[in-house]
């Protein structure tokens, strides 16, 4: 059930919201939970079993970890320093054993269902490379809805309990709702318990402003998805269909178009998700913060799919960097290589795992691994060359915050991101390389002015709408960057102007939406992860 479908928006979400406000405030989690289960069964049927396994194991382990945390806190008050250290070690070991087992179990489920066939093919190739005959059959595995999202959310919660970031949720059904909240399960955002779960513990009364803001966010998300992302989809499909016709300049336009498509689509979906949550009086973390204003790749990933980036930073990057074995290794490393190179080496080793995970999380193929490693190489080389960049800026008296320098850095970052998006969208890595190569070997600006462009899935009417949409999204981004809250600003306008704006928005989506004959509306790209 797609979020932009007629089945979801008026019927499913409408019924859920109606049921929610019909029951007394203290029981309002019940209809949300029941609708979440219904949503899951409607889309994934019996595979709800895997979600149930994750919920039961993580909930059970969280209760135990929390009890051990409290036990130790109680005991430590009465103990002398040495005994306290011994107890601490004892509890830490016990906690680690349980935490690692449950996280491993849940990741094994994810690995098997999502990556089973990929790992099978890797083993097969390795055996064949060693001269051994191997024929590992392909399994018909079905990926349960949102498994990549809820597994991370559940494991993050358990690690937080183990690190004593907050107390465990005592109610099983409330914890289940945290994992399977229906607007969020398909594409995230990946929330932490202190960002989302604790809100479920409070009674939530009808807040007209939050409700209205939620509807506005859904409308904005629908505009980005149906009017812009689905419209440009035909053009992107044409360019990325392997052919000798669409090379050179078309590749540049295709990469730019896909970058725009994936941004409007993914951020549009997250707007629908966050808007839907607002209708239930809930607030979910943001996932995008003007990513194309970034001056570096590092900054881009702090603004793009922020909840995934933060998850990987907290549980993989910090997990490896601050582990006792790595700290020991790091000490030796910095002893061996002093100065900038030593520091660089110390950082890029855990970063490798970060980007390997980031790539693999997006899909079970080498293409995605290489996509992650592309960003790894960019970031690692940027860090290594930083002293050179610094000297260059000093030599030419360039301040890093100078407008022109920032603009150049933003364009450079955007070009790197477009190459990344091309790797991501191409069917295979070799197709991506071929396409990139054609930019150097077959580039001709005259193609912009021949009559081929309007025949590639977007006619002049579509291009005019896309240009209008681009300007609208661009302006909204600039206003947000300047801390201007658009919905708050709209709420201060006179009533007729406000309703005029809302109706304009609704009619824009209905009239300009890319659906029906001649369009091939795409499913949400991130829903497959």
């Amino acid at each position: 059930m797609a979020f932009h479908s007629f089945l979801y928006l008026p019927f499913f979400l409408g019924s859920a919201v109606l049921s929610y406000y019909l029951v007394p405030a203290r029981y309002r989690n019940i209809p949300v939970f029941l609708f979440s289960i219904l949503f899951y069964i409607m889309t994934s049927r019996q595979y709800i079993l895997f979600l149930f396994i994750t919920a039961v194991t993580v909930f059970w382990a969280s209760q135990l970890l929390d009890r051990w945390n409290q036990d130790f806190k109680e005991k430590r008050r009465t103990l002398d320093k040495d005994t306290r250290k011994q107890y601490k070690l004892f509890y830490e070991r016990k906690k680690k054993r349980l935490l690692y087992s449950i996280v491993l179990l849940n990741f094994l489920i994810l690995l098997f269902l999502k990556y089973g066939n990929f790992f099978g093919s890797v083993v097969e190739s390795l055996l064949q490379a060693c001269g051994l005959s191997a024929d590992i059959p392909l399994l018909s595995l079905v990926q349960p809805l949102g498994i990549s999202f809820y597994t991370l959310q559940a494991c993050g919660y358990l690690i937080d309990i183990s690190r004593e970031k907050y107390r465990a949720e005592p109610h099983f059904f409330r914890f289940c709702l945290f994992l399977c909240f229906f607007p969020q399960i398909v594409e995230g955002p990946i929330a932490r318990y202190d960002q989302f779960g604790f809100q479920l513990q409070k009674e939530r009364r009808f807040d007209p402003q939050q409700f209205s803001f939620g509807l506005q966010l859904i409308l904005w998300g629908l505009f980005k998805k149906i009017v812009l992302a689905d419209r440009i989809n035909m053009f992107v499909n044409t360019v990325f269909t392997p052919s000798e016709q669409y090379v050179g300049l078309y590749v540049v336009l295709g990469a730019a178009a896909y970058t725009f498509q994936i941004y409007t689509e993914f951020s549009g979906c997250i707007d629908i998700v966050r808007g839907s949550a607002s209708l239930f009086g809930l607030s979910l973390p943001e996932n995008f913060r003007q990513p194309f204003s970034s001056v570096s790749i590092n900054e881009f990933w702090q603004r793009w799919h922020m909840t995934l980036g933060a998850w990987i930073r907290d549980y993989i990057f910090y997990g490896i960097s601050f582990s006792a074995p790595y700290q020991k290794f790091s000490k030796k490393l910095r002893h061996l290589f002093s100065g900038h190179f030593g520091k660089w080496l110390n950082a890029v080793i855990p970063l490798f795992f970060v980007w390997f995970f980031m790539g693999l999380w997006h899909g079970a193929s080498w293409k995605y691994v290489l996509y992650g490693l592309y960003y790894y190489i960019l970031i690692a080389s940027g860090m290594l060359l930083e002293p050179l960049f610094f000297k260059f800026r000093q030599l030419f008296h360039i301040h890093p915050d100078h407008t022109v320098w920032r603009l150049i850095s933003q364009i450079r970052t955007l070009l790197f991101v477009m190459v990344g998006m091309l790797l991501f969208r191409a069917d295979t890595f070799s197709q991506a390389v071929q396409m990139l190569r054609s930019v150097w070997t077959n580039f001709s600006i005259s193609r912009l002015f021949d009559s081929s462009l309007p025949t590639m899935g977007c006619d002049r009417h579509d291009m005019a709408i896309l240009l209008f949409g681009f300007l609208l999204v661009f302006t909204a981004g600039i206003l947000q960057k300047r801390n201007i809250r658009i919905r708050e600003a709209i709420s201060t306008l006179p009533l007729p102007v406000r309703w005029g704006l809302f109706y304009t928005g609704i009619f824009l989506v209905i009239i300009l939406g890319a659906y029906g004959k001649g369009y091939d509306p795409a499913g949400f790209i991130y829903a497959q992860f």
Partner: protein, 76 residues
């Protein structure tokens, strides 16, 4: 405190660490710099900052970083 200030100034020259109160919220320190900072703190103060203390609120200012170091020293 003096040693900590030296570490911070070497890590990110040009930042006024004596007055800055939002090192994380204002994106003055990123995750890579936090990693480097913790490694330097561990070496200088001969401690091991545990992961459960690597939280944004513990790195917002020189005072909060210093308070975290004191907490680790007390617990060790």
């Amino acid at each position: 405190m003096k040693e900590l200030l030296e570490i911070l100034e070497a890590l990110k020259p040009g930042v006024d660490f004596k007055t800055e109160q939002h090192l994380i919220d204002d994106r003055i320190l990123n995750s890579l710099e936090i990693m480097e900072l913790v490694t330097e703190i561990n070496d200088t103060f001969d401690i091991s900052v545990p992961l459960n203390l690597v939280l944004p609120e513990n790195f917002q200012s020189i005072d909060s970083i210093y308070a975290m170091i004191q907490r680790v020293l007390d617990e060790e």
